[in-house]
Each structure stands twice: as structure tokens, then as C-alpha cells.
């Protein structure tokens, strides 16, 4: 474990990173309507402030030697109970700073974008309050130096996610989606809390330093248990199989929310958790294998769902699931994959935010219609949106020199280093990515216009397009910059470790194969959705299409496995409560009542009767005394 450096200079501002958006949230949410006019701008400024501090910290950190880049800041002792203690303390290292920058910079762009997107919403101030709250909680999550504080941030983002998904709570579907996300996340949270308890029992501490320092002394069984519980937590937050069902419904929230929370930041918290706990997963092999399996399943599920959905946001959500599946797979690979998981997370955060914001911009111009079958030929109507969207599209499918090419290829490489099966599956999924993203772009921007009658597509205002342009620039150059100039491997290596295994073939072979698969996918997508007429009504489709439209029956499975048994159990319990419990209670009450009804006949009101029973008692006492004396 690297030494913790005292937080001095610019690093003494770690707490300010969190405090700024938190203060913004507090002001916006508690000060109420009087902040309506200037509140949203304050919300943007707080996050921008955090972003500036984050950039300064990055610059300062780059001046330091590689093993001196971990900074600790202790504010106060938070909980001190017997042998248990948890501090309100932060840890800023190479991993955290990456997240801080992603959260604050992408967050800032989305805040700015929201100024335009939510311009006509009467609850705009509340929206920005929630966004600030989310940013604060997410920063707390990635800056905490112990699992308990991380858990606070974890729950905080869950809360903010719930509030934002249900932001338009007048829509029953949004309210239901918010509840669904919250409840499914609880399942994962149980995993995290159990993992924390197990850590405390095993190691006697929950701080990263202590746990990782002595992790190798624990038995492998315990470490596997902790690892699986952490994986459960990650599945909940990152919408991985089997807890994936909430993410698609979460698209009920406003589009900037989908971009910020359900694409770029919160859903990657699971990846952060696994990478942060790399010591545990490296030591617990079976837990790591479980991570890979979950990642692969989700990678494919997401891709298949994304290929069939006609709702642009849900299709993007499927894509998000799939891409996070990549990251989780990479995180399960061990030291050969941790770095690339984070790398892909970073690039994905940028281009997926760009895609979501682009989709939002399209919806903005199409009267909030999300059905891609009603889009088409929008490239001339909204030039900037189309341009940025296509740049991000090239990035996600992995065309060089855009972002995705570098990050996804690294993951595929690492997968082959581990096992050819994983590698092939990841490679084929990349081809599928090419297909579904091409389908989306073709249906939206190319082909014939299938607009509804009263729709007049128009380009969005500058406040929305400028963030799009910035994100598109990021999508175009960030990957290249990080690989050739930023040297992401050696940057993250002190925190997560890094090793490379030799590959049987030259690396260009893999790159070429992947690219070929992607291009095949693109070609199929182009032929099916740009050359041919896209029907306005969805055709019946094959079995697989119908299943994918139904989100591969995830909801139905949950319904059969969880919801219906719960209903049945609660009905049985109600029956049991009514008949047995109430029967016993009422029966005993009736028994006592009947008994007293008879007993009260002896309350005649005659003092002499009472005196008689007293004398009877006295006789008994005297008898007892005499008998005791006799014996």
C-alpha cells in the first residue's frame, strides 16, 4: 500500500470538492422559491467550481512522483463505538482524481446543457438542486477513504437517482420507475452493507488502508464471500445481470439525468467499487470469475436489448448496460484489466454522455417523441446535433482514432490474455455494438423523414449544443490523448496494479479482426435501416427481436421469481394473521371476557361477602401455618 501524503496546498481543498455542490443543493432545496430565478445558475457554478479545483489538483498531482500521489484528509472522527471507528476522511489518489474529473467536468457540461433543456420546466430549481445533490454524493463515494463513508455516498447517489428518475412524478410511469430503481438498488445495497459488516468482523476495520493492508491474511473463503457481496452491490448500482431491470425504466427521467447518472457516472460506481477493492478480487479468484461471468452476460443482454428497442433512450440504455458489461468484465480480469476498465469507463462517460445529450437534443426538436421509427433524415434539420452524435457514434463502435477504439480494444486484448472464450465473446459483442449503434444513427439521421404531422425539427439553442460540441471533441481525442500522452496505464498502476500477458498472435490481428466485425455490424445495420424503408409500425420480428423488445423478459423473470412469490407470501401471511394470530388474540380476549363475565357475578357489592372471602383467605393462611408447623 502506498504511503498517504498529508493533504497540503491545493489538496487541502478535497472537502471543498464535495462541500460546494452540497451547499448548492442545500441552498436550492431549502431556500425554496426565492431562488427560482438565480438558483439554476448557482447550481452550475458550484459544479464548475469543483471542476476547476479538480483540474488544479490533477495538475499538482502530475508534478509529484508516482508513489507520492495518494493524499489523505481527515476531517473528524465520525463514528466511534467500542472497537469500531469510522472517520469522516477522504483519500485522493490517481483513481479518485480520474473519477472526480469525470464527474465534475461531464457534470458541469450536463448542468449547462440542462439550463437549455429544462428552460421551460417550472421545477427547474429543484432539478438543479437534485443534480447538485447527486454530484456531491457521487464525489463523496469516490473520495471516501473507508467503506462506510463510501456507503453513505452510495446511498446518496441512490437517493438522488430516485428523486431524478421520478422528477416528473406526475407521470405514473416515472413514479413507478423511480420506485423500481430504488427497490432493485436496495438489493445491491444489502450486499454492500453485508460486505462491510463482514470486513469489519474479519479485519476489524473498514478503511481502505487497513482492509487492503491485511487482506492477504484472511481465508480465501471469506475473501470470496466479501467479493461476491461487493459484486452484488456493483450489480445493483451498475445495472448488471441479474439486477439490470431498473436501468431501462430509469429513462423516464429527464434526459440530462440519463446522461449524467445513468450513463456517465452513477452506473459506473459498481466498476469503481470493484476496481477500488482490487486487492480482494485479486486474492479471491472465484469472485473474480463471477465478476467476469456477470459482465459477459450483461454485455450481451444489453447489446441485444439495444438492437431491438425503438425508443432511442432505451436503446441507449441497453448500450450503456452492454458497455458497463465490458468494464465489469475487464475489472474481473484482474491486474491485466483494471486499468482498461477505468479507461473505458472514462471514455464511455464522455461519449455516452454526448450520445444521451444528443438524443435529448433530438427529442427537444421532435416534441419529446422518443420513437426512432418516427425520426429519419434529421441530419439536415439539426446539423450540430447530428455531427456530434455521429462523432460519439464512431467513438462507441470503436473506429480509430476515436475514443472507443483504444479503450475497447484494450479490453478485448486483455480478455484474450485471460482466455480466448472471453476474448471471442467480447469481440463479437463489439460487432453487435456496431450494428445497434448504426441502426440508431441510420433511423434517426438518415433514411426518409417519418415525422409526425405537427413536428418541425429544429436545432437546439447554443447552451445545449456547446456542451455537445465539447463532449464530441472529448469523444474524438480523449482516448488518443490518454494513451499516447497521458499514459493511463502507468498513471493508474500504483493504485490498481498492471501487468500484461503475452498474446499468441500479434496485437494488430486482434485489432483488425475487431474492426472487421464492427464494420460487418455497421454494414448490416446500414443495409437494414438506411437503405431499406423503415416501417413506422414495428414489424412483428423474430423470436429474438420480440424477446429483446421485452428486455429479454427480465421483468417477467423478476415477476415470477420475486414479485409473485412475495405477493403469495404476503397473502398467506395476511391469512395467517387474520385467522391464526388474530384468532388467538381475539380468542384469548373472548375467553378472558367470558371468564370475567362470570367472575363479576361475585362482585355483589355486599361488603360482607367480600369480608367473607377475606376470612376464607385468612383460614387458608392459618391452615398453611399450622401445617408447616406440624411437618
Amino acid at each position: 500500500m502506498t504511503m498517504l501524503m498529508p493533504a497540503e496546498g491545493v489538496f487541502s481543498l478535497i472537502w471543498v470538492l464535495i462541500a460546494l455542490p452540497l451547499a448548492g443543493a442545500a441552498i436550492l432545496l431549502f431556500a425554496g422559491r426565492r431562488t427560482n430565478s438565480w438558483g439554476p445558475y448557482l447550481g452550475v457554478l458550484t459544479v464548475l467550481g469543483s471542476a476547476v479545483i479538480g483540474v488544479l489538483m490533477l495538475l499538482e498531482m502530475m508534478q509529484q512522483p508516482a508513489d507520492g500521489r495518494t493524499y489523505g484528509q481527515e476531517l473528524f472522527t465520525w463514528i466511534q463505538v467500542g472497537g469500531f471507528s469510522a472517520d469522516m476522511a477522504f483519500q485522493l489518489d490517481q483513481l479518485s482524481i480520474v473519477f472526480v474529473l469525470l464527474i465534475t467536468i461531464v457534470g458541469s457540461l450536463i448542468h449547462v446543457y440542462s439550463l437549455g433543456y429544462m428552460a421551460h420546466d417550472k421545477d427547474r430549481r429543484k432539478f438543479f438542486g437534485y443534480l447538485n445533490l447527486f454530484v456531491a454524493a457521487m464525489l463523496l463515494l469516490v473520495l471516501a477513504n473507508n467503506y462506510l463513508l463510501l456507503y453513505v455516498g452510495w446511498e446518496g447517489v441512490g437517493l438522488a437517482s430516485y428523486l431524478l428518475i421520478g422528477f416528473w412524478q406526475h407521470k405514473p410511469s416515472a413514479a413507478a420507475a423511480a420506485k423500481k430503481a430504488f427497490i432493485i438498488n436496495r438489493v445491491g445495497d444489502v450486499g454492500l452493507s453485508l460486505a462491510i459488516m463482514l470486513m469489519f468482523v474479519t479485519f476489524g476495520s473498514v478503511s481502505f488502508q487497513d482492509v487492503f493492508g491485511v487482506a492477504d491474511q484472511a481465508s480465501e473463503g471469506t475473501l470470496t464471500a466479501i467479493g461476491l457481496l461487493l459484486l452484488l452491490a456493483a450489480c445493483g448500482k451498475s445495472a448488471q445481470f441479474p439486477l439490470q431491470a431498473w436501468l431501462l425504466d430509469a429513462m423516464e427521467g429527464p434526459t440530462p439525468v440519463s446522461a449524467l447518472i445513468h450513463a456517465a457516472t452513477m452506473v459506473t460506481a459498481g466498476v469503481y467499487l470493484i476496481v477500488r477493492s482490487n486487492v480482494i478480487f485479486t486474492a479471491a479468484e472465484w469472485a473474480a470469475i463471477a465478476v467476469i461471468v456477470v459482465g459477459l452476460i450483461t454485455m450481451w443482454m444489453g447489446a441485444i436489448i439495444g438492437s431491438a428497442k425503438d425508443d432511442i433512450k432505451k436503446s441507449l440504455a441497453g448500450s450503456t448496460m452492454s458497455q458497463i458489461g465490458y468494464m465489469i468484465t475487464a475489472a474481473g480480469l484482474g491486474p491485466i484489466g483494471y486499468v482498461f476498465a477505468i479507461f473505458h469507463l472514462l471514455t464511455h462517460g464522455v461519449f455516452k454522455a454526448g450520445l444521451f445529450l444528443g438524443a435529448g437534443s433530438v427529442m427537444h426538436g421532435m416534441n419529446d417523441n422518443v420513437n426512432m421509427r418516427r425520426y429519419g433524415a434529421l441530419r439536415s434539420a439539426m446539423v450540430i446535433t447530428a455531427g456530434t452524435f455521429i462523432v460519439c457514434y464512431l467513438a462507441i463502435i470503436g473506429i480509430p482514432p476515436f475514443d472507443g477504439f483504444f479503450s475497447k480494444d484494450d479490453i478485448i486484448h486483455a480478455s484474450f490474455e485471460r482466455s480466448p472464450i472471453i476474448g471471442v465473446l467480447a469481440m463479437l459483442a463489439a460487432g453487435l455494438t456496431g450494428f445497434y449503434m448504426t441502426r440508431m444513427v441510420a433511423m434517426t439521421f438518415f433514411g426518409k423523414a417519418r415525422w409526425e404531422d405537427d413536428v418541425h425539427p429544429h436545432e437546439s439553442p447554443k447552451v445545449m449544443t456547446i456542451p455537445l460540441i465539447i463532449l464530441a471533441i472529448g469523444a474524438a481525442f480523449l482516448g488518443m490523448a490518454l494513451v499516447y500522452w497521458g499514459d493511463i496505464e502507468s498513471w493508474l498502476e500504483p493504485v490498481v496494479g498492471f501487468e500484461e500477458n503475452p498474446l499468441p498472435l500479434a496485437s494488430w490481428v486482434y485489432e483488425a479482426t475487431t474492426l472487421a466485425l464492427v464494420l460487418i455490424g455497421v454494414a448490416i445495420g446500414w443495409i437494414m435501416y438506411a437503405r431499406r424503408e423503415v416501417p413506422v409500425e414495428a414489424p412483428r420480428g423474430t423470436v429474438l427481436t420480440r424477446a429483446a423488445r421485452e428486455e429479454l423478459y427480465g421483468n417477467q423473470v423478476n415477476d415470477v421469481l420475486v414479485v409473485q412469490p412475495t405477493h403469495y407470501a404476503s397473502r398467506s401471511l395476511v391469512w395467517f394473521d387474520n385467522k391464526a394470530v388474530d384468532g388467538f388474540v381475539n380468542g384469548s380476549a373472548a375467553f378472558v371476557g367470558g371468564l370475567s363475565g362470570r367472575m363479576r357475578r361475585y362482585q355483589t357489592g355486599f361488603v360482607r361477602s367480600y369480608a367473607l372471602s377475606m376470612v376464607g383467605g385468612v383460614l387458608l393462611v392459618v391452615l398453611a401455618l399450622v401445617l408447616v408447623r406440624m411437618s
Binding site: R600, R601, Q603, T604, G605, F606, V607, R608, A611
Partner: protein
Amino acid sequence: MNPSNYVMLSAVLFSIGALGVLVRRNAIIVFMSVELMLNAANLAFVAFSRMNGNLDGQVVAFFVMVVAAAEVVVGLAIIVTIFRTRRSASIDEPNLLKY
């Protein structure tokens, strides 16, 4: 003369007092019976005092008398009050406190 005779006499008087409480309906006679029981107890105290050769028993009997006097005062006042409203001194009359 064995002092236990006094104690037995005390037991007999106590029993007769208890019988009076149980069978008589006139509140004043019931009260007299209670007084008789107290007196029986006093007799036992005095006898015990003699048996043990110290005066504590007599002191207790004295206190019993004081308490009995206080009790008589209050009890008779209650009887008078009840009589004033019900024109009767029967203890079977005030029997409203029942089922």
C-alpha cells in the same frame, strides 16, 4: 398460670369479632365487632409482652389503641354521612359498586 391462656382467649374473642363482622348488617355493630377484634389483638400483645419480659408489646398495644381511636372517629363520621343520605345504617344498602 400459663400466659398462653390469654392468647387463646384472644383467639376466641377475635373469632367472635370476625363472626360479628360477617353476620351483622348494622354498620355500628359491625364496627363494634372490628373494635373487638382489635382488642383481642391487644390482649395478645400484652400477653406476649409478659412472656418476653419487655414492654415493647405494651407499647404496640398502646399504638393500636391510638390508631383504633382515630379509625373509630373517621368510621363513625362515614356512617353518619351515609345515614344522612340513605336514612339507614345497614351495610348492605350501599351496594352500588358491583357488576
